[in-house]
């Protein structure tokens, strides 16, 4: 046998023995995680995973980031029902009815939680309640991220909308808010408001849901749309801002945030996840204006604001259920992240773990403290298998509601198309996948 071949053979033999050899005594439990977090959230989650892996040697988390939205959930659902899913996944609590009800997730028992030192009362009540369905716990909440109103102090200073300390004076009622957008537009010669408004944007749905909740109107009741005339009237109020030029239609997400970040708009309606970018630009001195953030103004009867929560859940993995050891390893990681979620709060999110959320550091964290009150009035997407982040009904809404801002459809037509296409969904039995 030639020398080279002998070497090659030896190398192969070595590799084979490494791959199939007896497991070393210090074997770790490997936890495979799928996450939909990208951008700043993704970097923060990566840091948490690295810290956790460095903090002990028994469990090793390997995280894979997948494309956010419908592809993520389609992949999670299909992989879990054929037993090829990950050991743990980040999900939105708004999708819980769909995922738990469809048999995609594995419930987590109180005993399993207790084994890693967790219990329900460790978490904020609204978030914990949303993690439960039909008497079982299906996920461990990580945060809340509500819709808030960002404002540009530099542009608003001459308008009289700010108080002596430069904070936004309270805005009460939808007319007052519309007036604020008008005044800001006229005074700044820029846009009064910016928000994601292109076709397939989710922002309109979130705002529309918030405004209906503020009128104590439910979207769906007993398999039927139940918002009545308020649905069209509310969408008309939003599209009015665009028709009058206070806001620009057709902006996709990056275009809408850069319009605000570039000083091109006085207000921005968006989730809290843009906070880190503002903090960063502000610190780096590249922002060019002072900013403030307030909870979504009370436009109608109450201060409801749409929100969603990230949470950790364990896929059911049909035919290949996780071992008790694996579940314990997953929950050890989840407990670690909960206890270290102060770093997560710097992403703008409101932590769900009480000890962190109510800590003096969290309460003092800027700019989070300015909108912390929003946590008391959050509304999730209503319960329903078709609801939730990038869920079927939201996907349909995101196709038609923006059409009313473009002027491509009237609000009445947009609502009608939304209803027509969603009708089959809300009548249908929840699917078991």
């Amino acid at each position: 046998m030639a020398r080279r071949e002998w070497k090659l053979g030896a190398a192969v033999a070595l590799l084979v023995s490494l791959a199939w050899g007896p497991a070393p005594a210090w074997a770790q439990v490997e936890v495979r995680m799928w996450t939909l977090l990208s951008g700043g959230d993704g970097a923060r989650m990566r840091a948490l995973v690295d810290d956790f892996n460095a903090s002990q040697r028994e469990v090793r988390v390997v995280s894979t980031t997948l494309k956010w939205g419908e592809p993520f959930y389609t992949k999670l659902i299909t992989s879990s029902v054929v037993g090829a899913g990950p050991d743990v996944a980040t999900v939105h609590l708004s999708r819980l009815v769909n995922l738990a009800g469809g048999g995609v997730l594995r419930p987590i028992s109180d005993a399993e939680l207790a084994a890693v030192g967790l219990k329900g009362s460790d978490y904020l009540p609204r978030q914990w309640e949303k993690s439960r369905w039909q008497g079982k716990t299906w996920a461990v909440p990580l945060d809340t991220h509500p819709l808030v109103l960002y404002y540009n102090k530099t542009l608003l200073r001459p308008t009289g909308l700010l108080d002596a300390e430069g904070r936004l004076k309270p805005i009460e009622g939808v007319d007052a808010l519309t007036d604020a957008f008008r005044i800001a537009t006229e005074a700044s010669h820029r846009r009064g408001l910016t928000m994601e408004s292109s076709q397939s944007s989710f922002a309109i749905w979130r705002l529309w849901l918030s405004m209906l909740a503020q009128q104590n109107v439910a979207i769906v009741r007993n398999g039927q749309y139940s918002y009545g005339a308020a649905g069209e009237a509310t969408l008309a109020r939003i599209s009015d801002w665009f028709r009058k030029g206070y806001a620009q239609a057709g902006l996709d997400y990056p275009a809408s945030t850069s319009q605000f970040m570039g000083g091109g708009a006085a207000f921005m309606l968006n989730g809290v996840w843009e906070v880190p970018e503002l903090v960063r630009a502000s610190k780096a001195g590249t922002l060019g204006f002072e900013y403030g953030i307030v909870p979504l103004p009370t436009m109608y009867a109450n201060a409801s604001a749409w929100a969603d929560s990230h949470a950790f859940a364990i896929p059911a993995n049909a035919g290949r259920p996780p071992s008790p050891q694996k579940v314990n390893a997953v929950l050890r990681f989840v407990a670690y992240v909960s206890r270290h979620s102060m770093g997560w709060a710097e992403g703008g999110h409101i932590p769900a773990y009480r000890a962190v959320a109510e800590s003096p550091e969290a309460l003092a964290l800027q700019p989070n403290a300015q909108y912390a009150a929003a946590a008391h009035n959050v509304v999730y997407d209503p319960d329903g298998w078709y609801m939730g982040a990038a869920g079927p009904l939201e996907a349909i809404a995101s196709k038609f509601l923006p059409a009313a801002l473009y002027g491509y459809m009237t609000p009445a037509q947009a609502i009608k198309r939304f209803e027509q296409e969603g009708a089959r969904l809300i009548r249908k039995q929840p699917p078991r996948y």
């Binding site: 299909t78 029902v81 469809g102 076709q199 079927p392 996907a395 473009y406 089959r424």
Partner: protein
Amino acid sequence: MKPSDLALPASSRREGLPATLLLAPFVIVFLLFFLVPAGVTFWMSLTESSLTRTNAFVGLANYHTLLNDPSFWDSVLNTFYFALLTVIPLTALGLVMALLVNRFVKAQAWLQGVFFLPFVLPISVMTLIADWMLQPSSGVINHILGIHRPWLADPYWALPAVAIGTVWWTVGFNMLLFLAGLRNIPADLYEAAALDGARGLTLFRSITWPALRPVATTALILQVIASLKVFGQTYILTSGGPFNTTRVTLHYMYETAFTQSDAGYAAAIAMAFVTIVILLSVLQAGVVRWLARRDA
């Protein structure tokens, strides 16, 4: 008649085994990957099913819903509109390109390469390039036209824009078909015609076109089917938007099956659409045959 007359001649019997062996791969693949799945799809269309399980037999309920589902009919209209926008240009351009390649003998290999090049691109690359070219402010198409149209976000222009991208992508294949046809025309026909004083368009009308007609018919039928099967381009470039103006039937079927996990209804959409395509193909073939008979 003696029974032995009915038996196959000895030579046929000897060829029976090789024939079976040679046919078997195709028959097995056809059964496994076409006939069985088609049967399963038809069964599924009669049920209420999610992605992996069948919940109930519902008979023709899915088809009943389908008839009254404006989203389905919109998607069918979009698909036909896309076919309308692509079939004629693809066939005509393919012919023109083939004539050009055939004419400029010296640059033949080079021209053929240039025209065929886009066809070898995978769809992900094609859509990336098309997306860049169609960008509102930085795209080369707007630059040439001197405008700022957001092609893919414009409800009226999105589908034509996807169609333009598709024509650029696939026209090379039709060119090859026509080129093969052109090369089959005997050169002495042209020589004889030239001796009779025919040139230019007359040559094309009386020799080239009649000889190419069978090729054109094939290209047209293949093209109609290919265009009706459109999914990838619109899915990646526009995800069916804006406002569903580019959502074709296969995309609606995909959404129904995977986003809404309603596999039963998706199967009904598939069956209905296949029926429409088959009817259309039969009709098209009939028209073509009738035209040929009339001219004969």
